[in-house]
């Protein structure tokens, strides 16, 4: 078992979008079960969107904010009477993690045309990144299949949540499903020593910074985990 994760190579210059491409289909298939687990979370976000002061604006931002945690955080801050600057700051802090994802997958897109990079950026959020992370071949097309599946399904779930309201607010397990889903993607990589270092350190950091806001806590965990991952690489 190697102690370092496989190096991702840029895909050869095949067309990015071919729906019948095996890698695109594999990405879509990998995303499908995640949608089941994400459904309650999407419905919760939809309920928050419907309850906001401007549901249309909040709904349209589903595609641009494109992250349930940031979306909920922004709407929650606004619902408590704070101004738009405070809400925007919280939302951007929560979404700051996207820079880490984009940086991590940048080598795979170095040879890609500009429009492909823009598409990759539009589709980027936790699940497609985590699913495609460390995929040794067909990375771009797999990512595209996973990302497009979520890009169409997530707004559909949010819209459904707007229509059905806060039905799931009383289901206590709904907030655990995204955690279980993303956690299940992470634990598969714990056999690599640096990944285990990073995840352990970040988990301890998350416990220690639990009283802080979500965005701040996640940024601290990212810094602590990245440092531990680098140290783990050196120790391997």
């Amino acid at each position: 078992m190697p102690d370092t994760l496989p190096t991702r190579r840029p895909s050869p210059s095949r067309p990015l979008w071919r729906p019948l491409d095996p890698d695109v289909r594999a990405g879509a298939r990998a995303m499908a079960p995640m949608l089941v687990a994400y459904a309650p979370f999407g419905l919760l976000v939809g309920a928050a969107v419907a309850a906001s002061a401007n549901p249309l604006a909040a709904w349209l931002s589903t595609w641009t904010i494109y992250g349930g945690a940031a979306h909920l955080a922004v709407l929650d801050v606004l619902a408590h009477g704070s101004g738009w600057i405070a809400a925007a700051t919280v939302g951007l802090l929560v979404n700051a993690r996207l820079t880490a994802y984009a940086t991590a997958m940048a080598p795979a897109w170095r040879s890609a045309p500009l429009r492909h990079r823009v598409v990759a950026a539009l589709l980027l959020t936790d699940a497609p990144w985590a699913l495609a992370h460390n995929r040794p071949s067909g990375y771009r097309r797999f990512y595209l299949g996973a990302g497009l599946t979520l890009f169409f399904a997530w707004p559909a779930l949010v819209t459904l949540g707007m229509l059905t309201g806060d039905l799931l607010g009383t289901v206590p397990v709904a907030d655990l499903l995204p955690a279980l889903t993303l956690g299940a993607l992470v634990v598969g990589q714990l056999r690599h020593r640096p990944a285990a270092f990073a995840v352990t350190a970040a988990s301890v950091s998350a416990v220690a910074t639990a009283p802080l806001s979500s965005g701040t806590s996640l940024m601290v965990a990212a810094a602590v985990g990245a440092t531990a991952g680098v140290l783990g690489e050196r120790a391997s």
Binding site: A57, L92, L176, G229
Partner: protein, 106 residues
Amino acid sequence: MRVLLAVLVVGAGSLLLRLAPLLGADRLPDRLPRIAGWAGLSVLAAFTVRAVLGHHDPAVPGAPVLAALAVAGGLFLAFRGRSLLFAVAAGTACYLVLSAAVSALT
């Protein structure tokens, strides 16, 4: 107006956060994406831990502890190679059984 401004700023900012590293992919130092990969995994782990710690269930005393046990069980199954759906379903079922048992006992 507050909602519109907030979501516009967060939407544009989020897009920039995603786009900038990909547009500048050619100029990134070779080591940086690797470090960012550890940071990304760390964020996902922290997200999971925070969700468990922040779990709230008014009907069940000690809900975060039960959530931690249930999530740990589900993640263990995922670590052992079970499918994502199986692991999530097992973790969820575990929480429901544990919370029902605790509620019955208290």
